[in-house]
Protein backbone atom coordinates (compact mmCIF):
# COMPACT_ATOMS: atom_id res chain seq x y z
CA UNK A 1 0.00 0.00 0.00
CA UNK A 2 1.28 3.44 -0.97
CA UNK A 3 0.62 6.80 0.67
CA UNK A 4 1.89 10.29 -0.16
CA UNK A 5 4.44 11.72 2.23
CA UNK A 6 5.75 15.18 3.07
CA UNK A 7 8.74 15.01 5.42
CA UNK A 8 9.39 18.75 5.76
CA UNK A 9 12.71 20.37 6.61
CA UNK A 10 12.93 19.45 10.31
CA UNK A 11 12.55 15.76 9.56
CA UNK A 12 15.46 15.98 7.13
CA UNK A 13 17.63 17.83 9.66
CA UNK A 14 17.43 18.41 13.40
CA UNK A 15 14.53 15.95 13.87
CA UNK A 16 15.73 13.17 11.61
CA UNK A 17 14.91 10.55 14.26
CA UNK A 18 11.23 11.42 13.76
CA UNK A 19 11.59 10.59 10.07
CA UNK A 20 13.58 7.43 10.86
CA UNK A 21 10.91 6.18 13.25
CA UNK A 22 8.00 6.99 10.90
CA UNK A 23 9.78 5.12 8.11
CA UNK A 24 10.66 2.19 10.38
CA UNK A 25 7.08 1.55 11.52
CA UNK A 26 5.68 2.08 8.00
CA UNK A 27 8.11 -0.52 6.67
CA UNK A 28 7.25 -2.94 9.48
CA UNK A 29 3.55 -2.86 8.68
CA UNK A 30 4.02 -2.80 4.92
CA UNK A 31 3.18 0.78 3.93
CA UNK A 32 5.26 2.62 1.36
CA UNK A 33 5.52 6.37 1.96
CA UNK A 34 6.13 8.25 -1.30
CA UNK A 35 7.62 11.74 -0.94
CA UNK A 36 6.24 14.62 -3.02
CA UNK A 37 8.74 15.11 -5.88
CA UNK A 38 10.86 18.27 -5.47
CA UNK A 39 8.98 19.43 -2.36
CA UNK A 40 9.83 22.79 -0.77
CA UNK A 41 9.65 24.24 2.76
CA UNK A 42 6.11 25.10 3.93
CA UNK A 43 7.29 28.54 5.12
CA UNK A 44 6.40 27.78 8.73
CA UNK A 45 5.93 30.64 11.21
CA UNK A 46 8.30 32.98 9.37
CA UNK A 47 6.16 33.16 6.24
CA UNK A 48 2.78 33.72 7.87
CA UNK A 49 4.24 36.26 10.30
CA UNK A 50 5.59 38.39 7.45
CA UNK A 51 3.53 37.85 4.29
CA UNK A 52 0.15 36.24 3.80
CA UNK A 53 0.42 35.41 0.10
CA UNK A 54 3.84 33.83 0.60
CA UNK A 55 2.49 31.75 3.48
CA UNK A 56 -0.28 30.43 1.21
CA UNK A 57 1.85 29.90 -1.88
CA UNK A 58 4.71 27.86 -0.40
CA UNK A 59 2.41 25.10 0.94
CA UNK A 60 0.17 25.35 -2.16
CA UNK A 61 3.11 24.51 -4.44
CA UNK A 62 3.63 21.26 -2.47
CA UNK A 63 -0.06 20.41 -2.58
CA UNK A 64 -0.16 21.01 -6.35
CA UNK A 65 2.95 18.85 -6.86
CA UNK A 66 1.37 16.08 -4.79
CA UNK A 67 -1.73 16.15 -6.98
CA UNK A 68 0.40 16.17 -10.14
CA UNK A 69 2.15 13.06 -8.84
CA UNK A 70 -1.25 11.38 -8.52
CA UNK A 71 -1.25 11.25 -4.72
CA UNK A 72 -4.62 11.35 -2.99
CA UNK A 73 -3.62 11.06 0.67
CA UNK A 74 -0.71 12.88 2.22
CA UNK A 75 0.94 11.96 5.53
CA UNK A 76 2.52 15.04 7.16
CA UNK A 77 4.25 14.06 10.45
CA UNK A 78 5.48 17.57 11.35
CA UNK A 79 2.64 19.29 13.24
CA UNK A 80 3.66 22.71 11.93
CA UNK A 81 3.70 21.63 8.27
CA UNK A 82 0.44 19.74 8.85
CA UNK A 83 -1.13 22.89 10.29
CA UNK A 84 0.08 25.08 7.41
CA UNK A 85 -1.12 22.62 4.76
CA UNK A 86 -4.53 22.16 6.32
CA UNK A 87 -5.03 25.89 6.90
CA UNK A 88 -3.99 26.71 3.32
CA UNK A 89 -6.28 24.06 1.87
CA UNK A 90 -9.14 25.41 3.96
CA UNK A 91 -8.52 29.04 2.97
CA UNK A 92 -8.15 28.32 -0.74
CA UNK A 93 -11.24 26.11 -0.86
CA UNK A 94 -13.32 28.84 0.81
CA UNK A 95 -12.07 31.82 -1.21
CA UNK A 96 -12.30 31.51 -4.97
CA UNK A 97 -10.44 34.74 -5.95
CA UNK A 98 -7.64 33.95 -3.49
CA UNK A 99 -7.42 30.40 -4.85
CA UNK A 100 -7.05 31.76 -8.39
CA UNK A 101 -4.46 34.28 -7.30
CA UNK A 102 -2.35 31.64 -5.51
CA UNK A 103 -2.49 29.32 -8.53
CA UNK A 104 -1.13 32.23 -10.60
CA UNK A 105 1.67 32.89 -8.11
CA UNK A 106 2.83 29.27 -8.02
CA UNK A 107 2.33 28.73 -11.76
CA UNK A 108 0.47 25.49 -11.06
CA UNK A 109 -3.07 24.45 -10.44
CA UNK A 110 -4.02 23.10 -7.08
CA UNK A 111 -7.47 21.55 -7.29
CA UNK A 112 -7.94 20.62 -3.65
CA UNK A 113 -8.45 16.87 -3.98
CA UNK A 114 -5.97 15.88 -1.33
CA UNK A 115 -6.58 14.37 2.09
CA UNK A 116 -4.02 15.61 4.58
CA UNK A 117 -3.24 13.37 7.57
CA UNK A 118 -1.20 14.18 10.64
CA UNK A 119 0.87 11.41 12.20
CA UNK A 120 -1.81 10.42 14.72
CA UNK A 121 -4.47 10.17 12.01
CA UNK A 122 -2.03 8.05 10.01
CA UNK A 123 -1.51 5.78 13.02
CA UNK A 124 -5.23 5.69 13.75
CA UNK A 125 -6.19 4.71 10.20
CA UNK A 126 -3.33 2.53 9.01
CA UNK A 127 -1.24 1.36 11.97
CA UNK A 128 -3.42 0.76 15.00
CA UNK A 129 -5.29 -2.29 13.65
CA UNK A 130 -1.99 -3.98 12.88
CA UNK A 131 -0.55 -3.38 16.34
CA UNK A 132 -2.03 -6.38 18.13
CA UNK A 133 -0.49 -8.88 15.72
CA UNK A 134 2.90 -7.11 15.54
CA UNK A 135 3.61 -5.75 19.02
CA UNK A 136 6.36 -7.62 20.84
CA UNK A 137 6.93 -5.52 23.95
CA UNK A 138 4.64 -3.81 26.36
CA UNK A 139 5.44 -0.10 26.79
CA UNK A 140 4.94 -0.49 30.51
CA UNK A 141 5.77 3.07 31.53
CA UNK A 142 3.92 6.03 32.92
CA UNK A 143 3.75 8.56 30.10
CA UNK A 144 2.53 12.12 29.60
CA UNK A 145 1.12 12.56 26.08
CA UNK A 146 1.87 16.09 24.92
CA UNK A 147 -0.10 17.43 21.94
CA UNK A 148 0.95 21.08 21.90
CA UNK A 149 -0.88 23.59 19.71
CA UNK A 150 -0.91 22.81 16.06
CA UNK A 151 -2.38 19.30 16.10
CA UNK A 152 -5.55 20.39 17.86
CA UNK A 153 -6.01 24.09 17.11
CA UNK A 154 -7.93 25.65 15.49
CA UNK A 155 -10.46 22.85 15.86
CA UNK A 156 -12.88 24.45 13.42
CA UNK A 157 -10.45 23.89 10.55
CA UNK A 158 -8.48 20.83 11.65
CA UNK A 159 -11.50 18.94 13.07
CA UNK A 160 -9.16 16.63 14.91
CA UNK A 161 -9.73 15.38 18.46
CA UNK A 162 -10.86 17.56 21.36
CA UNK A 163 -9.17 20.88 21.69
CA UNK A 164 -8.77 21.03 25.50
CA UNK A 165 -8.27 17.40 26.51
CA UNK A 166 -7.33 15.40 23.41
CA UNK A 167 -7.17 11.59 23.71
CA UNK A 168 -5.93 10.05 20.45
CA UNK A 169 -2.28 9.72 21.50
CA UNK A 170 -3.32 8.53 24.97
CA UNK A 171 -5.37 5.76 23.37
CA UNK A 172 -2.45 4.59 21.22
CA UNK A 173 -0.12 4.55 24.23
CA UNK A 174 -2.68 2.68 26.36
CA UNK A 175 -2.99 0.09 23.61
CA UNK A 176 0.77 -0.40 23.81
CA UNK A 177 0.43 -1.06 27.54
CA UNK A 178 1.44 2.37 28.85
CA UNK A 179 -0.15 4.24 31.71
CA UNK A 180 -1.09 7.56 30.05
CA UNK A 181 -1.54 10.08 32.85
CA UNK A 182 -3.93 12.98 33.18
CA UNK A 183 -1.98 16.21 33.38
CA UNK A 184 -2.39 19.92 32.97
CA UNK A 185 -0.12 20.88 30.08
CA UNK A 186 -1.34 18.61 27.26
CA UNK A 187 -2.12 21.47 24.88
CA UNK A 188 -0.11 24.36 26.30
CA UNK A 189 2.38 25.95 23.90
CA UNK A 190 6.10 25.03 24.25
CA UNK A 191 7.30 28.30 22.70
CA UNK A 192 7.48 26.81 19.21
CA UNK A 193 9.53 28.76 16.68
CA UNK A 194 11.00 31.15 19.27
CA UNK A 195 13.65 28.63 20.35
CA UNK A 196 16.47 30.82 19.03
CA UNK A 197 14.96 34.30 18.85
CA UNK A 198 13.19 34.41 22.27
CA UNK A 199 14.81 31.62 24.28
CA UNK A 200 13.69 32.98 27.69
CA UNK A 201 10.04 32.45 26.77
CA UNK A 202 10.76 28.93 25.51
CA UNK A 203 12.62 28.05 28.73
CA UNK A 204 9.63 29.17 30.80
CA UNK A 205 6.86 27.60 28.71
CA UNK A 206 8.70 24.33 28.13
CA UNK A 207 9.90 24.43 31.73
CA UNK A 208 6.32 24.40 33.01
CA UNK A 209 5.47 21.45 30.75
CA UNK A 210 8.45 19.34 31.90
CA UNK A 211 7.86 20.27 35.55
CA UNK A 212 4.20 19.18 35.50
CA UNK A 213 4.99 15.88 33.73
CA UNK A 214 7.73 15.09 36.28
CA UNK A 215 5.61 16.20 39.22
CA UNK A 216 2.85 13.77 38.22
CA UNK A 217 5.28 10.87 37.99
CA UNK A 218 5.61 10.48 34.22
CA UNK A 219 8.65 8.52 33.04
CA UNK A 220 8.53 9.91 29.50
CA UNK A 221 6.86 12.70 27.54
CA UNK A 222 5.33 11.49 24.26
CA UNK A 223 5.19 14.01 21.40
CA UNK A 224 4.16 14.21 17.74
CA UNK A 225 5.77 17.50 16.69
CA UNK A 226 9.44 18.24 15.91
CA UNK A 227 9.23 21.74 17.40
CA UNK A 228 7.81 20.43 20.68
CA UNK A 229 10.53 17.80 20.67
CA UNK A 230 13.43 20.14 20.08
CA UNK A 231 12.20 22.62 22.68
CA UNK A 232 11.60 19.98 25.39
CA UNK A 233 14.74 17.98 24.55
CA UNK A 234 17.41 20.26 23.10
CA UNK A 235 16.49 23.17 25.40
CA UNK A 236 16.69 21.03 28.57
CA UNK A 237 19.67 22.98 29.91
CA UNK A 238 17.63 26.22 29.79
CA UNK A 239 14.53 24.40 31.12
CA UNK A 240 16.42 23.00 34.11
CA UNK A 241 17.89 26.43 34.81
CA UNK A 242 14.39 27.95 34.78
CA UNK A 243 12.99 25.22 37.06
CA UNK A 244 16.02 25.41 39.34
CA UNK A 245 16.54 21.64 39.25
CA UNK A 246 17.83 18.94 37.00
CA UNK A 247 15.39 16.71 35.16
CA UNK A 248 16.08 13.54 33.21
CA UNK A 249 12.65 12.73 31.76
CA UNK A 250 13.14 11.77 28.09
CA UNK A 251 10.99 13.13 25.25
CA UNK A 252 9.96 10.45 22.77
CA UNK A 253 8.12 10.68 19.45
CA UNK A 254 4.97 8.57 19.39
CA UNK A 255 6.42 6.76 16.37
CA UNK A 256 9.52 5.86 18.37
CA UNK A 257 7.34 4.51 21.19
CA UNK A 258 5.40 2.38 18.70
CA UNK A 259 8.70 1.25 17.17
CA UNK A 260 10.02 0.18 20.59
CA UNK A 261 6.83 -1.83 21.18
CA UNK A 262 7.14 -3.41 17.73
CA UNK A 263 10.62 -4.60 18.71
CA UNK A 264 12.44 -2.42 16.17
CA UNK A 265 16.11 -1.76 16.94
CA UNK A 266 16.39 1.41 19.08
CA UNK A 267 19.19 2.75 16.87
CA UNK A 268 17.00 2.41 13.81
CA UNK A 269 14.43 4.55 15.62
CA UNK A 270 17.07 7.21 16.32
CA UNK A 271 16.67 7.05 20.11
CA UNK A 272 20.40 7.70 20.50
CA UNK A 273 20.04 11.11 18.86
CA UNK A 274 18.24 12.80 21.74
CA UNK A 275 19.98 15.30 24.02
CA UNK A 276 18.22 13.84 27.09
CA UNK A 277 19.27 10.18 27.09
CA UNK A 278 16.51 7.61 26.70
CA UNK A 279 17.23 4.96 29.32
CA UNK A 280 13.95 3.07 29.23
CA UNK A 281 14.52 -0.62 29.88
CA UNK A 282 12.75 -3.73 31.13
CA UNK A 283 9.97 -3.85 28.57
CA UNK A 284 7.86 -6.94 29.23
CA UNK A 285 6.54 -9.20 26.47
CA UNK A 286 3.24 -7.84 25.18
CA UNK A 287 0.01 -9.39 26.37
CA UNK A 288 -3.14 -8.07 24.75
CA UNK A 289 -5.62 -6.59 27.22
CA UNK A 290 -8.92 -4.91 26.75
CA UNK A 291 -8.44 -1.27 27.55
CA UNK A 292 -11.09 0.86 29.04
CA UNK A 293 -11.10 3.85 26.72
CA UNK A 294 -13.77 5.48 24.75
CA UNK A 295 -12.87 7.15 21.49
CA UNK A 296 -13.22 10.88 21.99
CA UNK A 297 -15.97 12.48 20.01
CA UNK A 298 -15.09 15.38 17.84
CA UNK A 299 -16.61 18.64 18.92
CA UNK A 300 -19.68 19.42 16.92
CA UNK A 301 -18.81 21.89 14.21
CA UNK A 302 -21.65 23.51 12.41
Amino acid sequence: MKLGFYPGCSLEGASREYNESVMAIAEKIGIELVSIPDWNCCGATAAHNLNKELSLSLPARNLALAEEAGLTELVVPCAACYSRFTMVQHELMHDEPLHKRVNEIIGKEYKGNLRILNVIQFIDEYVIDKLDENVKFEFNKKVACYYGCLLVRPNKVLKFDRTEDPQTMDIVMKKLGADAIDWAYKTECCGAGFSVSFTEAVARLSGNIVEDAVHRGAEAIIVACPMCHSNLDMRRKEIDKFNGKKSDIPVIYITQAIGVALGIDHKKLGLQRHFVPVNLKDFKPFVKKEIDVEKPQNMEVE
Partner: protein
Protein backbone atom coordinates in the same frame (compact mmCIF):
# COMPACT_ATOMS: atom_id res chain seq x y z
CA UNK B 1 -23.13 50.11 -6.41
CA UNK B 2 -21.76 51.75 -3.34
CA UNK B 3 -24.15 52.78 -0.69
CA UNK B 4 -23.97 56.59 -0.15
CA UNK B 5 -24.82 56.12 3.53
CA UNK B 6 -21.98 53.68 3.94
CA UNK B 7 -18.55 55.27 3.90
CA UNK B 8 -15.43 53.14 3.88
CA UNK B 9 -14.10 52.32 7.33
CA UNK B 10 -10.53 53.60 7.36
CA UNK B 11 -9.71 52.58 10.89
CA UNK B 12 -7.25 49.76 11.45
CA UNK B 13 -10.16 47.64 12.70
CA UNK B 14 -11.93 48.37 9.41
CA UNK B 15 -8.89 47.27 7.42
CA UNK B 16 -8.67 44.08 9.47
CA UNK B 17 -12.31 43.36 8.69
CA UNK B 18 -11.76 44.04 5.00
CA UNK B 19 -8.46 42.19 4.56
CA UNK B 20 -8.73 39.18 6.84
CA UNK B 21 -12.44 39.11 7.59
CA UNK B 22 -12.08 39.37 11.36
CA UNK B 23 -14.77 41.46 13.00
CA UNK B 24 -13.48 43.11 16.17
CA UNK B 25 -16.85 44.61 17.14
CA UNK B 26 -17.92 41.14 18.28
CA UNK B 27 -15.42 41.23 21.16
CA UNK B 28 -17.09 42.08 24.49
CA UNK B 29 -13.87 42.07 26.49
CA UNK B 30 -14.34 38.89 28.53
CA UNK B 31 -10.56 38.46 28.62
CA UNK B 32 -10.40 34.70 28.01
CA UNK B 33 -7.83 35.23 25.26
CA UNK B 34 -5.54 37.13 27.60
CA UNK B 35 -6.04 34.56 30.37
CA UNK B 36 -5.09 31.66 28.10
CA UNK B 37 -2.33 33.38 26.12
CA UNK B 38 1.02 31.85 27.17
CA UNK B 39 2.91 35.09 26.56
CA UNK B 40 0.42 37.75 27.71
CA UNK B 41 2.74 38.44 30.65
CA UNK B 42 5.55 39.35 28.22
CA UNK B 43 3.31 41.59 26.14
CA UNK B 44 2.86 45.33 26.61
CA UNK B 45 -0.87 44.90 25.85
CA UNK B 46 -2.50 41.47 26.23
CA UNK B 47 -4.70 40.35 23.29
CA UNK B 48 -8.02 41.63 24.68
CA UNK B 49 -6.49 45.06 25.34
CA UNK B 50 -5.07 45.16 21.78
CA UNK B 51 -8.59 44.58 20.53
CA UNK B 52 -10.01 47.21 22.84
CA UNK B 53 -7.51 49.74 21.53
CA UNK B 54 -8.49 48.89 17.96
CA UNK B 55 -12.19 49.12 18.82
CA UNK B 56 -11.75 52.80 19.75
CA UNK B 57 -10.52 53.54 16.23
CA UNK B 58 -8.38 56.38 17.63
CA UNK B 59 -5.09 57.05 15.81
CA UNK B 60 -2.97 57.12 18.99
CA UNK B 61 -4.29 53.72 20.05
CA UNK B 62 -3.74 52.28 16.58
CA UNK B 63 -0.20 53.62 16.72
CA UNK B 64 0.33 51.84 20.06
CA UNK B 65 -0.85 48.59 18.51
CA UNK B 66 1.41 48.80 15.45
CA UNK B 67 4.39 49.71 17.64
CA UNK B 68 3.62 47.10 20.32
CA UNK B 69 5.76 44.16 21.39
CA UNK B 70 2.56 42.12 21.66
CA UNK B 71 2.09 41.51 17.95
CA UNK B 72 5.61 40.07 17.70
CA UNK B 73 5.55 38.04 20.93
CA UNK B 74 2.39 36.23 19.75
CA UNK B 75 3.35 32.59 19.18
CA UNK B 76 0.41 31.81 16.86
CA UNK B 77 -0.45 28.98 19.26
CA UNK B 78 -4.18 29.54 18.56
CA UNK B 79 -5.22 29.24 22.21
CA UNK B 80 -7.10 32.58 22.03
CA UNK B 81 -9.37 31.50 19.19
CA UNK B 82 -9.88 28.08 20.77
CA UNK B 83 -11.38 29.74 23.86
CA UNK B 84 -13.05 32.86 22.46
CA UNK B 85 -16.83 32.68 23.04
CA UNK B 86 -17.41 35.03 20.10
CA UNK B 87 -14.92 33.34 17.77
CA UNK B 88 -12.95 36.49 17.14
CA UNK B 89 -10.10 35.02 15.10
CA UNK B 90 -7.09 36.73 16.68
CA UNK B 91 -4.20 34.84 14.97
CA UNK B 92 -4.93 36.11 11.42
CA UNK B 93 -5.45 39.58 12.90
CA UNK B 94 -1.96 39.32 14.43
CA UNK B 95 -0.51 38.23 11.07
CA UNK B 96 -2.10 41.25 9.42
CA UNK B 97 -0.86 43.65 12.12
CA UNK B 98 2.70 42.29 11.85
CA UNK B 99 2.63 42.84 8.09
CA UNK B 100 1.38 46.42 8.53
CA UNK B 101 3.87 47.13 11.29
CA UNK B 102 6.77 46.10 9.01
CA UNK B 103 5.33 47.86 5.96
CA UNK B 104 4.98 51.15 7.87
CA UNK B 105 8.36 50.72 9.54
CA UNK B 106 6.86 50.67 13.01
CA UNK B 107 8.12 47.36 14.37
CA UNK B 108 8.99 47.48 18.08
CA UNK B 109 12.77 47.42 18.74
CA UNK B 110 12.23 44.59 21.27
CA UNK B 111 11.16 42.40 18.35
CA UNK B 112 14.29 42.95 16.28
CA UNK B 113 15.74 39.48 16.87
CA UNK B 114 12.42 37.76 16.20
CA UNK B 115 12.12 39.61 12.87
CA UNK B 116 15.77 38.93 11.98
CA UNK B 117 15.19 35.25 12.65
CA UNK B 118 12.08 35.17 10.42
CA UNK B 119 13.98 36.96 7.65
CA UNK B 120 16.97 34.62 7.90
CA UNK B 121 14.52 31.69 7.76
CA UNK B 122 12.85 33.01 4.58
CA UNK B 123 16.24 33.77 2.99
CA UNK B 124 17.19 30.15 3.35
CA UNK B 125 14.00 29.03 1.61
CA UNK B 126 14.43 31.61 -1.15
CA UNK B 127 17.92 30.36 -1.93
CA UNK B 128 17.53 26.60 -1.65
CA UNK B 129 13.77 25.89 -1.58
CA UNK B 130 14.14 24.32 1.86
CA UNK B 131 15.30 25.33 5.29
CA UNK B 132 19.05 24.90 5.67
CA UNK B 133 19.49 24.90 9.44
CA UNK B 134 23.24 25.49 9.52
CA UNK B 135 22.87 28.39 7.08
CA UNK B 136 19.96 29.78 9.11
CA UNK B 137 22.03 29.79 12.31
CA UNK B 138 24.98 31.52 10.63
CA UNK B 139 22.75 34.04 8.82
CA UNK B 140 20.84 34.82 12.05
CA UNK B 141 24.06 35.29 14.00
CA UNK B 142 25.40 37.68 11.36
CA UNK B 143 22.13 39.63 11.40
CA UNK B 144 21.63 39.70 15.18
CA UNK B 145 25.34 39.83 16.13
CA UNK B 146 24.63 37.29 18.88
CA UNK B 147 27.78 35.37 18.00
CA UNK B 148 28.08 33.50 21.30
CA UNK B 149 24.45 32.36 21.56
CA UNK B 150 24.07 28.57 21.59
CA UNK B 151 27.69 27.91 20.68
CA UNK B 152 27.55 24.64 22.58
CA UNK B 153 24.37 23.49 20.84
CA UNK B 154 25.72 23.10 17.30
CA UNK B 155 28.60 20.71 18.11
CA UNK B 156 26.26 18.39 20.05
CA UNK B 157 23.73 18.52 17.20
CA UNK B 158 26.49 17.62 14.76
CA UNK B 159 27.66 14.73 16.93
CA UNK B 160 24.09 13.40 17.12
CA UNK B 161 23.69 13.66 13.36
CA UNK B 162 21.09 16.41 13.68
CA UNK B 163 22.83 19.07 11.61
CA UNK B 164 23.59 18.87 7.91
CA UNK B 165 26.78 20.49 6.69
CA UNK B 166 25.50 21.13 3.17
CA UNK B 167 22.10 22.47 2.11
CA UNK B 168 19.48 20.42 0.31
CA UNK B 169 18.71 22.14 -2.96
CA UNK B 170 15.42 21.54 -4.71
CA UNK B 171 15.50 21.30 -8.51
CA UNK B 172 13.00 23.97 -9.47
CA UNK B 173 14.49 26.85 -7.49
CA UNK B 174 13.35 29.21 -10.23
CA UNK B 175 9.75 28.44 -9.25
CA UNK B 176 10.52 29.36 -5.63
CA UNK B 177 12.23 32.61 -6.60
CA UNK B 178 9.18 33.42 -8.73
CA UNK B 179 6.91 32.84 -5.72
CA UNK B 180 9.01 35.24 -3.65
CA UNK B 181 9.03 37.85 -6.45
CA UNK B 182 5.24 37.58 -6.73
CA UNK B 183 4.67 37.97 -2.99
CA UNK B 184 7.04 39.30 -0.32
CA UNK B 185 9.59 40.72 -2.82
CA UNK B 186 7.01 42.29 -5.11
CA UNK B 187 8.07 45.66 -6.54
CA UNK B 188 5.44 48.18 -5.61
Amino acid sequence: MSNPHHTEDNTLAGKIKKNVGVSLVKCYQCGKCSAGCPVSGDMDYPPSLLIHKLQTGLPNHEEDVLRSKSIWYCLSCEMCIARCPMEVDIPPMMDYLRGESIRLNKANPAAKNIIKFHKAFLNSIKNTGRLYEMGLIVDYKMKSLNMMQDVTLAPTMLAKGKLKIFPEMIKNRKNIRQIFLNTINKQK
